[in-house]
């Protein structure tokens, strides 16, 4: 009964914020650092991303990659997002990303820890293929422990099977 209302509320809270799913997650251990990356490359039209682009460029504002049930392969619709973030990481070698892998509630919690990590690794590989370097990427699996949607149904499960791209340094 509560779930639809909560979802609507969550959606309402997220209006105008691209990373809705990300905002819905509490990451209290690591308060997000404000962007203080030195902006020495002043050139605006060298085709390189700068820190502000994270909040303005559409594909960089998308920071959640979703997965099929029990799968860790990147869906085609996520390729563009990952190409974008991969280029950002190449353009800004000081940028650091934590990839938070998640699973839906089905199956055992420990196996789902493995599945979340496998998804995080898949995103890590895709970002490296698009220009990021391994040293910029850190994978943490939360398994099924941090769902963003409540409920035992396909809709909630689909939202919970995800990797969140969290910039720890921009």
């Amino acid at each position: 009964m509560n779930t639809p209302i909560r979802l609507i509320l969550a959606a309402a809270l997220c209006v105008g914020v691209a990373a809705c799913a990300k905002k819905a997650t509490v990451v209290e251990t690591q308060p997000e650092p404000m962007p203080v990356a030195p902006d020495t490359t002043a050139a605006v039209d060298d085709g390189k991303y700068d820190a502000e682009d994270l909040e303005t460029v559409a594909c960089l504002r998308q920071r959640v990659v979703y997965f099929d049930f029990d799968r860790s392969d990147i869906r085609s619709e996520a390729q563009e997002i990952l190409a974008c973030h991969g280029k950002y990481l190449r353009d800004r070698s000081s940028a650091q990303v934590t990839l938070e892998g998640h699973a839906d509630e089905r199956g055992t919690r420990e196996y789902n820890l493995g599945l979340g990590e496998r998804r995080g690794n898949a995103v890590s590989s895709a970002l490296q293929a698009n220009g990021g370097s391994a040293g910029q990427l850190n994978v943490v699996s939360y398994g099924e422990e941090r769902p963003v949607a409540e409920g035992s149904n396909e809709e909630a499960w689909a939202q919970n099977r995800r990797v969140e791209i969290v910039y720890t340094a921009k």
Binding site: V26, R106, L113, G114, E117, R118, N121
Partner: protein
């Protein structure tokens, strides 16, 4: 009935009523639901224990606790309280024909007396009704606050005398609770009696906790916590609360399981790039890799002889159970029925393996029974849709597991023959990942 016995019965009924009312008022008290009737179970009458103490009546109905224990294990069916027509407290007062008419095979009577320093002395006797024979007569001393514990110990002794296997009622369960909204959650590792009473908090955390595992002496718990940002394995003394980090490697630190001698810990680490099974020597913290495969290998548990591990691997595509020598080597697949088998736990004799079995969107507790040799037979123990985390009682007479009901997790205890199920409502919010303790040392 003499006036004395009537008064006594009233007192006992009164205290029984108080227990029930307490159960209804506090959400921390478990609610008991026997789901399936058991026609083949052994009939046993547990007569309300006579109060021969000078002080106030204790707030625990010892006979009711014993009867509830015996009922939930499936092998017994206790005589309903309203059908108990006589109240013998000792052998001299027992009239066997009464209990034969009531079709009872066994009879338990007892009495509560004063002991030193406000404690109680509880004497009980067990009779074979058909043979008109006293099988057992023992006395226990218990603190006023631990009468439930004494009742569980009596149930264990009765169970052992009749069935021939040590009872496991006087044991505990560890489990995880989660309360609050998705954005603001509080996790706790709890320990309670095996019937869900006396819940106590071992540790609280704002970050997820999972996979509690008992040390074989029942004094410590290993568990996974995310309080450092990534998963780490902690070891905590449940009496002193003292704790230490056992494993905090890069990647996953999960699925702790103590070896039967308590000196080693099987665990899952993904520092090599993917989850593998390792064994840690607890004293030196040195880890040795057991599995080497690009698949997910996790959820290791020890065979009772301590020489091999049963674990989950998706090396064949979907998760299945495998067995591997602790020293490493080739893994042998154990499960072939069901598309998804994970989270395997092992009975004390190494002949039964309980696991989460998934078929489509339905996840249930299944048991692979190899008491007649391999490959064994598989039967499903639970009727839910998202059942998980089975854990055997130390005598394998029962299992406890987690189920989802609506948006919350609840725990069920189920008899090994699946005929009796009992729901333990332990707290508000989500309750999951039960782990049954080893036998307690008397």
């Amino acid at each position: 009935m003499t006036p004395r016995i009537v008064l006594l019965a009233l007192l006992l009924l009164g205290s029984h009523g108080a227990v029930l009312a307490q159960g209804g008022l506090s959400s921390d008290e478990p609610r008991l639901e026997i789901r399936n009737g058991v026609a083949a179970a052994i009939p046993i009458a547990v007569v309300p224990f006579a109060l021969e103490s000078s002080g106030l009546p204790p707030d625990t109905d010892i006979a009711a606790v014993i009867a509830a224990d015996l009922n939930r294990v499936g092998q017994f069916r206790s005589l309903a309280r309203q059908d108990v027509v006589e109240y013998p407290a000792r052998e001299a007062e027992v009239k066997f024909p009464t209990w034969r008419v009531l079709k009872q095979d066994f009879l338990v009577v007892g009495r509560v007396q004063d002991a030193e320093a406000g404690a109680y002395r509880i004497e009980f006797e067990l009779f074979d009704v058909a043979k008109q024979q006293r099988l057992q007569g023992l006395a226990l001393t218990a603190r006023a606050g631990d009468l439930r514990g004494a009742a569980h110990q009596i149930a264990d002794l009765v169970y052992e005398k009749i069935i021939g296997i040590r009872g496991a009622f006087w044991t505990r369960i560890a489990y995880i609770t989660s309360i609050g909204s998705l954005k603001d959650r509080q996790f706790a590792l709890m320990v309670a009696d095996s019937d869900g009473y006396n819940p106590q908090t071992v540790v609280r955390s704002r970050e997820p906790l999972l996979s509690p595992a008992w040390s074989p002496d029942g004094k410590k718990l290993a568990y996974v916590s995310f309080e450092r940002g990534n998963s780490s394995i902690y070891l905590q003394d449940i009496t002193t609360g003292q704790r230490e980090v056992l494993a905090s490697y890069k990647g996953i630190n999960g699925a702790p399981a103590f070896s039967p001698d308590g000196n080693r810990l099987a665990l899952t680490l993904s520092m090599s790039g993917n989850p593998e099974i390792y064994v840690m020597d607890i004293a030196s913290r040195r880890v040795t890799q057991v599995t080497r495969h690009f698949a997910i290998d996790t959820e290791a548990n020890w065979m009772p002889d301590g020489r091999s591990l049963v674990f989950t691997s998706d090396r064949a595509g979907k998760p299945q159970l495998y067995q591997i020598p602790v020293a490493g080597g080739d893994a042998t697949r154990l499960t072939f029925s069901g598309e998804y088998n994970a989270g395997g736990v092992i009975s004390w004799d190494g002949k039964q393996f309980a696991m989460v079995q998934g078929n489509g969107n339905v996840y249930r507790i299944a048991v692979l029974d190899r008491s007649l040799g391999s490959p064994g037979e598989t039967r499903v123990l639970s009727p839910g849709n998202l059942d998980e985390a089975p854990s055997y009682a130390p005598n394998a007479s029962m299992l406890i597991y987690a189920a989802r009901e609506g948006s919350r997790g609840v725990l069920y205890a189920v008899s090994a023959d699946a005929r009796v199920r009992q729901r333990l409502v332990l707290a508000d919010g989500d309750v999951r990942e039960p782990a049954w303790s080893p036998f307690r040392q008397r």
